[in-house]
């Protein structure tokens, strides 16, 4: 389980996260949503151990501030919003970089499986820089998957922390990547994903947390939180949600009739 209690993060004097508490369960995909600047990526960076924060974050029951980078790497992989490589590495080599954390066993086999998982099986000898943006993003996902290949490790469930994992993908690949994340959760791992696309969130997330202005506006099961009033207040525009007949999956349509009052 990931438990974040009363997390605050400041950049200089500006308070980016203001006492946010957040929980994610293994076996579930938990989405963090909210408008630009609401603190979604900052919360994920704090959960990843990238930022100094006040409060306490526990990963599988242990305070992340007291764990070594290697211990954390064995338990969770992080997919950043954007990744650039400084030198012309081959795709296979990028995946192998992720294997440094201590994945034991047949590295070549895992590399191939990870590439196959993201639909890039024939690309292992391609130069990373020659791939499209979407392909590069999938290679990075394969690198993270290879790092924590088994959703449940010796120390408990492993975690995928994804920062906007579908931002430069077409709709088919968006669905594919979200399916990979959901499958990881169904196999016993945990997934926390920062999401911009609310409809994908409604389709794949078991739980969601809605941030606004550095605070958690609402959190809980997706069907409970994915509501007109919550989303409208968070995004400060009129949002109308509905349910796809016969599926139980909710979706939203933005309305053009102006902004709503600022959330408090």
């Amino acid at each position: 389980m990931i438990e974040a209690s009363n997390i605050s993060v400041s950049y200089g004097r500006k308070l980016i996260l203001d006492g946010v508490s957040f929980t994610a369960q293994p076996g579930e995909l938990t989405a963090i949503v909210g408008p630009n600047g609401s603190g979604k990526s900052t919360l994920l960076k704090a959960l990843s151990g990238d930022l100094p924060y006040s409060g306490i974050i526990r990963l599988n029951g242990n305070d992340i501030a007291r764990q070594s980078v290697l211990d954390l790497a064995i338990q969770r992989g992080v997919l950043p919003q954007a990744s650039s490589l400084s030198f012309p590495f081959r795709v296979r080599e990028v995946i192998e970089i992720g294997l440094g954390a201590g994945v034991h066993g047949d590295q070549h086999h895992i590399t191939q499986l990870a590439l196959d998982r993201v639909g890039l099986a024939g690309f292992s000898e391609h130069l990373y820089q020659e791939l499209s943006g979407g392909q590069q993003q999938r290679v990075q996902l394969a690198r993270v998957l290879a790092q924590i290949w088994h959703p449940v490790g010796e120390n408990g469930p492993c975690w995928l922390l994804l920062d906007e994992p579908v931002s430069s993908l077409d709709i088919a690949h968006q669905l594919g990547v979200m399916q990979i994340a959901q499958d990881f959760a169904r196999a016993g791992g945990g997934v926390v994903a920062v999401m911009h696309d609310l409809n994908l969130t409604a389709m794949f997330a078991d739980r969601m947390a809605v941030l606004h202005d550095g605070r958690c506006l609402a959190s809980g099961k997706t069907q409970d939180v994915f509501r007109d009033e919550v989303l409208s207040a968070a995004y400060m525009c009129r949002i109308q949600t509905a349910c796809l007949p016969g599926t139980g999956i909710r979706y939203f349509l933005p309305q053009t009739s102006g902004r709503v009052a600022q959330a408090g």
Binding site: F87, P88, R90, G100
Partner: protein, 360 residues
Amino acid sequence: MASVIDTPVADPLIQDLRRRRKAGAVHAALFALLLVTALASLTVGATGVSLGGAGWDFMVGRQIGVLEATVLWDIRAPRTIMGILVGAALAVSGAVMQGLFRNPLADPGLLGVSAGASLGAVGAIVLGVWLPAAVVGFFGFALLPLAAFLGAWVVMLTLYGLATRRGRTSVGTMLLGGIGISALAGALNGLMVFIADDLQLRELTFWGLGSLTGATWAKTVVAGPVILVSTLAAMSLAQGLNSLSVGEATARHIGVDVQTLKRWAILSVAAATGAAVAVSGGIGFIGIVVPHLLRLATGADHRRLLLNAALLGASLLLGADMISRVIVAPTELPIGIVTAVLGAPVFLWILLRQRGVVDI
């Protein structure tokens, strides 16, 4: 056996075996090149003494002449060993700095390490005359290399202190700090040149342009282990530097202790470059050209790159040293001129080829 073209999607294990064979072949070829250049370095020179001639004399049981023994053992052998060590150190230091800064144009010169070493050496040449005779006598020939080594370390520790805040070292701050410190060291160097007498000026010029002329067994015994250990330490960072290529945050996510990696990279490069500059002066371009050529030929993986850089850097410096010995024989051209004349066009050629993809 089926060709690669016949089997575009080969078994991953076979692909891996092929890659390992290819990488092994490249290592072997570079090692052979180093062996050939080292033997050539022992046999080429202004005196006409050759390794083959002395070797023949030895084999047929003839007494090897004093001149041959002196030239081969006391002059060329330490020079060749020093050439190998300095060439390897400069090339590996360049590759490590580029990996650390995630920039193909970085090298120890950019951080001011070379400038610091130069300042130390120039200070020893110019201000050494004012030191008490006992001090000069105590340090002897080691005064200049020690001063250079000290200069490199003072710069590196200052820079590290400047760029480290709350336990994290900012690579960007180091880069900018390095530019500032290089400028300051350059100005102080200029001041030394201004107050130097004619004899000192000639020594300064020769030292500034780099040379292996002064390589002796005594210097090799003192500086050799420092260069060797620090270069090997730098080479051991290959896996971490690969991780750093994806970015600092991602390297941490993968499980790399980035701060420790940076500290080792900086300290090992400062020691290797400081000791190399201390014994051979300012030799440019090896640290930039060698890693570039190798990345084009064998890829960016530091696990291969650093070993190959050591082998090719050593061969190139020995080659440049041979040219510097024979091109204006019986005198010698400073080796820095040879490496710059050969290296700068190669560097520009690389830049032209990569104009579209080099992004700083």
